[in-house]
């Protein structure tokens, strides 16, 4: 706990702190002080089960941090957005010092809770930026445009019809940014590619994503950008190629998923843990820790497609990877809603 944080102690935490001090003081003879080596009490709050793609990356990084002894991790999954602020409060009241999760569906209410618990560090997935008036809220999202761009290069080289289908959930900044980066990568190999873009208005409606993908295949697409579950299934059924997003799905679709842009939450998690340990957690955009130069994203190994991707594309990917890492090439960030071309 840094000194400026303890000055802003709320009445609730003061009462709680006093109560626990009264309980512990006689038995230990001292007031409880957190040492830097103690694992940080961390809670995760997710709106879907932890095996679902986006959240699975966060959960994995948190479990890794826990096994290193950096944090003591507990979590709640499948929390409805309407319930989200309540669960945030509960974890804050239970004495967690770091709360991670996603507030895309409860942005305003979640920020009210954040303001109520200034001593708790909140690291939340959000479509918005950090707010200086909420110093204990840092935001992030899977800004893996570097890897998406690289996967686009492969897609551009693999499509024969020059027609790529892209199915998204909602056009939020993270989705848009990755789609634009993917399109830019594909155009590196073939500037005349036609893109079919659709949003299904839901994150978890695989049957609908699949139907949309089928329609794109009928519309001439021979490669699909699988932002949602269901798209890779349509590609597999019709025997065309797909590019994965966030997780590597090639083991499930070995003959159709060419490449995947993978998100690594570990750099984001570790940066937050270090900030909390050092007592200097502040309002910031942790989205940059998903960039390739921070190790936040990679292109999955070619696996079953090793040797089947044109050498020109493989060379281009290698060249751009090096350039992105040394800073000589920056993938353009464009958060506007992509449209069919």
């Amino acid at each position: 706990m840094s000194s400026h944080q303890s000055l802003k102690i709320s009445r609730r935490t003061l009462i709680k702190g006093t109560a626990s001090a009264l309980v512990l003081a006689p038995s230990l003879g001292i007031l409880p002080l957190a040492s830097a080596k103690d694992p940080i009490k961390t809670a995760g709050i997710y709106t879907v089960p932890v095996e679902q793609q986006w959240v699975s990356r966060i959960h994995k990084a948190a479990l890794a941090a826990q096994s290193r002894g950096d944090i003591a991790y507990t979590f709640t999954e499948n929390t409805a957005n309407t319930d989200y602020p309540r669960v945030m409060r509960e974890y804050a009241e239970q004495g967690n010092t770091l709360i991670i999760g996603e507030i895309f569906g409860a942005e305003a209410e979640a920020r009210e809770v954040v303001a109520e618990y200034p001593d708790v560090a909140f690291l939340m997935g959000s479509s918005f930026k950090e707010d200086p008036s909420l110093p204990n809220l840092a935001v992030f999202d899977n800004y893996i445009q570097d890897a998406s761009y690289l996967s686009g290069i492969i897609a551009g080289a693999m499509t024969k019809s020059g027609n790529i289908g892209m199915v998204g959930g909602f056009p939020i900044p993270e989705v848009n940014r990755l789609m634009h980066a993917f399109m830019a990568g594909a155009r590196e190999m073939n500037p005349n590619i036609r893109f079919q873009v659709s949003f299904i208005g839901s994150w978890f409606d695989p049957p609908k994503a699949k139907e949309t993908a089928f329609a794109m295949i009928e519309g001439g697409a021979d490669l699909l950008y699988a932002e949602r579950f269901g798209v890779s299934d349509a590609a597999k059924e019709r025997g065309i190629l797909a590019i994965g997003n966030v997780i590597d799905t090639q083991d499930q679709y070995p003959s159709t998923v060419v490449a995947s842009a993978i998100w690594h939450f570990e750099p984001t998690m570790d940066a937050a843990v270090a900030a909390v340990q050092a007592g200097n957690f502040k309002a910031a955009d942790y989205g940059i820790y998903s960039f390739m130069k921070h190790g936040g994203c990679t292109l999955a190994p070619y696996g079953t497609f090793a040797g089947k991707i044109p050498q020109k594309a493989v060379d281009m990917v290698a060249k751009r990877t090096a350039e992105i890492k040394n800073g000589s090439y920056t993938v353009t960030i464009n958060d506007d809603e992509p449209k069919s071309s």
């Binding site: 879907v48 089960p49 095996e51 679902q52 793609q53 699975s56 499948n78 289908g165 056009p171 079919q196 873009v197 659709s198 949003f199 299904i200 208005g201 839901s202 994150w203 978890f204 409606d205 695989p206 049957p207 609908k208 699949k210 139907e211 949309t212 089928f214 329609a215 794109m216 009928e218 519309g219 579950f229 269901g230 299934d233 997780i247 499930q252 809603e337 449209k339 069919s340 071309s341």
Partner: protein
């Protein structure tokens, strides 16, 4: 015309019938409940339960049809819960229905996590594949679209025929319809209003669960929370759209699905770049409401819908 050509492709109608299938099953379920005088708002939750249980049955090795059967049974049990409160106790059908939806959704999650405590990705099954029923392809217009569907779609169409037959051609159907119009007269005939209504809700709920199971056993091969995504509520509207008649509700489901298949294709056409995608997503709902206004003007609502029956009370 690019837009009109969409309607002329067989693949468009194949997609429309595929999208309609879960709606057809669940709509028939709701229709049976409502014809007996019980509004079943548990439909959304029962579909979620059906989607999970059906998938889970197949996942643990009961086979695809074992999953279908399991979903039907679980749907019936949830229907029994609904009926015991709305029919036997005469409680508010709105409150009980929404309660059943919430309970079934949460119970499904609980069961899912208990059954699969630590999976790293949503497990998949080998789902129903389309079967080629070549003879159907000779039917004009819709034939080619009907010939390439999964077995559950044929089950859905059979359900419409059976529901229609039972409702209008059997004594049981007459009693069911009467119990939704004038339960006292049914009671005066010496028939059990309670039994008929409970039976209708139980069987209807079973069909709703099959609608949910279609999503995980046919349309997709894995279970996701939120994948039912309001389809149950659409079915409630389809029953009204169909004026409580099976064949009209069936057409309504096809029409809604066709609008959906249409908007998906339109979004990717050249005009898709100029119009916000939300307009497209809204289209099936908007067009269905417009059609509902036209179609339901002369609809005959079951007179005793949502009216509890207490024996001996006038």
């Amino acid at each position: 015309m690019e837009i009109l050509e969409i309607f002329l492709t067989a693949s468009f109608w194949t997609a429309a019938i595929r999208i309609a299938s879960p709606l057809i099953l669940a709509t028939m379920g709701e229709l049976i409940c409502e014809r007996a005088g019980v509004l079943n708002l548990g439909i959304e939750g029962i579909m979620v339960a059906g989607a999970f249980v059906g998938w889970f049955g197949a996942y643990i090795g009961m086979g695809l049809w074992g999953g279908v059967l399991l979903a039907f049974v679980v749907g019936m049990l949830l229907g029994l819960l609904h009926a015991s409160m709305t029919v036997s106790l005469g409680l508010s059908q709105h409150v009980v229905g929404l309660g059943v939806t919430l309970l079934a959704t949460s119970l499904t999650y609980y069961a899912y996590r208990v059954a699969l405590p630590e999976v790293t990705s949503p497990p998949k099954i080998e789902a129903f594949q389309p079967v080629s029923v070549v003879i159907l392809a000779y039917i004009p217009i819709l034939g080619p679209a009907l010939a390439e569907q999964t077995p559950l779609t044929y089950l859905a169409i059979a359900t419409v025929l059976i529901t229609s037959f039972v409702l209008y051609r059997t004594p049981l159907g007459l009693a069911l319809r009467a119990v939704g119009e004038n339960p006292s007269s049914v009671s005066a005939q010496g028939l059990s209003v309670l039994g008929l209504r409970v039976g209708a809700v139980v069987v209807g709920s079973g069909l709703m669960a099959l609608g949910g199971a279609f999503l995980t056993l046919s349309a997709f091969d894995s279970f996701f929370f939120g994948m039912v995504n309001g389809r149950g509520w659409v079915c409630i509207a389809l029953v009204v759209f169909g004026a409580w008649k099976p064949h009209k509700a069936f057409l309504g489901a096809i029409l809604f699905a066709a609008f959906d298949a249409f908007q998906i294709r339109l979004q990717q056409s050249s005009i898709g770049a100029d119009i916000p995608y939300q307009i497209f997503l809204m289209m099936p709902y908007f067009l269905s409401i417009a059609a509902l206004v036209v179609m339901s003007r002369k609809a005959e609502v079951p007179a005793a819908l949502m009216v509890p029956f207490y024996k001996g009370e006038r």
